[in-house]
Amino acid sequence: MIAFWRALSKNRLALIGGAIVLVLALMAVAAPLVSPHDPHKPDVKRILESPSTRHWLGTDQIGRDVLSRMLYGARVSLAVGFVSVGIATAIGIALGAGAGYHGGPVDGAVMRLVDLMLVFPRFFLLLAVLAFLKPSIWTIMVVIGLTGWMGVARLVRAEFLALKEREFVIWSQSIGASAFRIIWRHILPNAMGPVLVAMTLGIPAAILTESGLSFLGLGVRPPYATWGNILNEGKEVIELAWWLSVYPGLAILVTVLSYNLLGEGIRDALDPRLRQSVGRFGGRGR
């Protein structure tokens, strides 16, 4: 653990990424306190104003403050990222642990399910599922989670295949510990490193996916502001108001970049060999 922190603290880029991640999270939590205006209150006298001292990032078509909307948007984007990755990780751990520990037909069934899911390009699958459901923030979170667990399942399975042959597991089995107890208490804590990395790299992927869906108008619906939403509305008036399109995109870029830097830093600090198995596709959503 100490070696891990030492290695991480030497990686300057990862530290910068981590700091930005932290600041973003704080700003999202404190959005009502730090945002200069009400994000939902229109002001018809100040439509599409360019950035000024009053509205740092300008105003939108109905005079709402873009900075405030982006701060509230950060809440939604980060919440979608965290919750959907939480769902994906929970499913991935449950299926991957079962497959890796029990092997045999359980393993076969889980891995075929993974193969099946990976056949569909994720964005197509997401759109197809969303077409059958009522759109809401919760739907988006659940659907992104349900279509994103395959990587974690493979990872956990591989860890379990290696760990279940180790002596501490065999000893626990010999004194009659239940399978659930061995998986939960003995193997899983040892397999959490790669899972943590996959989660850190999964959050930016989920944020990119959510903003992409919202940009198409199929993600989080107004009146909720998200970065993808603001971009979607902004592209209609891009000739008049570049600030509506430039800033939310930059916000996504910086957020995703920071999470990726942090995730790669954690991975290298945990074990450089993990490069092979975790995060081969970085934090890209589709």
């Binding site: 197509f124 108008g217 592209k235 399109s245 990726n260």
Partner: protein, 293 residues
């Protein structure tokens, strides 16, 4: 099952329509009928007012998406391999550092945002490139070479956007793979027997470094096809991705299901091609027939 059912008044016609589309059967019967029909590539008819057979709509659009994706793939490989090899053989050089920055930024750039920014910059402010569709409306009346240029110029922006993220990823994998290979003993011995560096890198190392890349290339096909959703929608390219988004907006379920089947089949074919091409790159791997080991 249709959740987005409209709520019309004329229940008799509603029932007739349900019967016509087979929606009055239980779900498992409907699903079985659907499965039986797609064996013959019969995906039914679109729910849209024109009611065209879905397979006709796909036949118009699939070649466009396929062409775009193949071009993107070729560009990615053609650019990522030299970039990756160069940054591996000159690790920590200025070139290597610059590509590393590009990789991280490329990974983090939302493609839809990049698309809008490029449209505004090159399409509107500078007016150099067209920003939507595949051809000018007057295309038919242009002379041959202008036709070619017109088509190519319509493709520049969409293909730039679609290759951006993939290029970043692949040059990274190429670098990683090359770094591992040039540490191997056989590379040292190739150098030791006096082969020029270009042969050592270009022949001995590159072939071995390409092997994992082919795997990644095969695995990235769903990602590329998924990316066409965004690119085709923004640049108004009449391909599968645009069809998918339209049919989701319109809740055109036969089209949505058919789209899924087609893109999943594309992924399978791509993985098969990747598996088969291993033996081209590495003669040690043979496509084995059963009973002949």
């Amino acid at each position: 099952m249709i959740i987005g059912d409209p709520n019309p008044v004329d229940w008799v016609s509603v029932e007739q329509l349900r019967k016509l589309y087979g929606l009055d059967d239980p779900l498992h019967v409907q699903y079985w009928n659907w499965l039986k029909r797609i064996v013959f590539l019969d995906f039914g008819r679109s729910f849209a007012p024109h009611g065209r057979p879905v397979i006709h709509m796909i036949r118009e659009r699939l070649p466009i998406t396929l062409t775009l994706n193949v071009i993107e793939m070729l560009i990615i490989v053609a650019m990522a391999v030299p970039v990756g090899v160069t940054s591996a053989t000159r690790q920590y050089s200025a070139f290597d550092k610059a590509t590393t920055v590009f990789v991280f930024v490329g990974f983090a750039t939302p493609d839809f945002w990049l698309a809008v920014m490029l449209q505004i910059l090159f399409g509107v402010h500078m007016g150099w490139l067209p920003i939507s569709g595949l051809r000018l409306p007057v295309w038919e009346y242009l002379p041959f070479w202008q036709q070619q240029w017109d088509f190519a110029s319509h493709l520049i922006l969409p293909i730039t956007v679609a290759t951006f993220g993939g290029l970043a990823g692949f040059s990274r994998y190429m670098r990683q793979s090359m770094l591992e290979v040039i540490r191997q003993d056989y590379v040292q011995s190739a150098r030791a027997k006096g082969l020029p560096e270009s042969v050592v890198i270009g022949k001995h190392a590159l072939r071995n470094a390409m092997l994992p890349i082919v795997t990644v290339l095969g695995l990235s096909v769903p990602g590329l096809i998924g990316g066409s959703v965004i690119v085709e929608t923004i640049f108004a390219i009449p391909g599968m991705g645009q069809l998918m988004v339209q049919s989701v907006y319109e809740r055109d379920y036969p089209v949505i299901m058919a789209n899924l089947v087609i893109v999943a089949s594309l992924t399978l074919v791509a993985n098969l091609i990747a598996d088969l091409s291993y033996s081209l790159i590495d003669p040690r791997i043979r496509v084995s027939r059963r009973g002949r080991r």
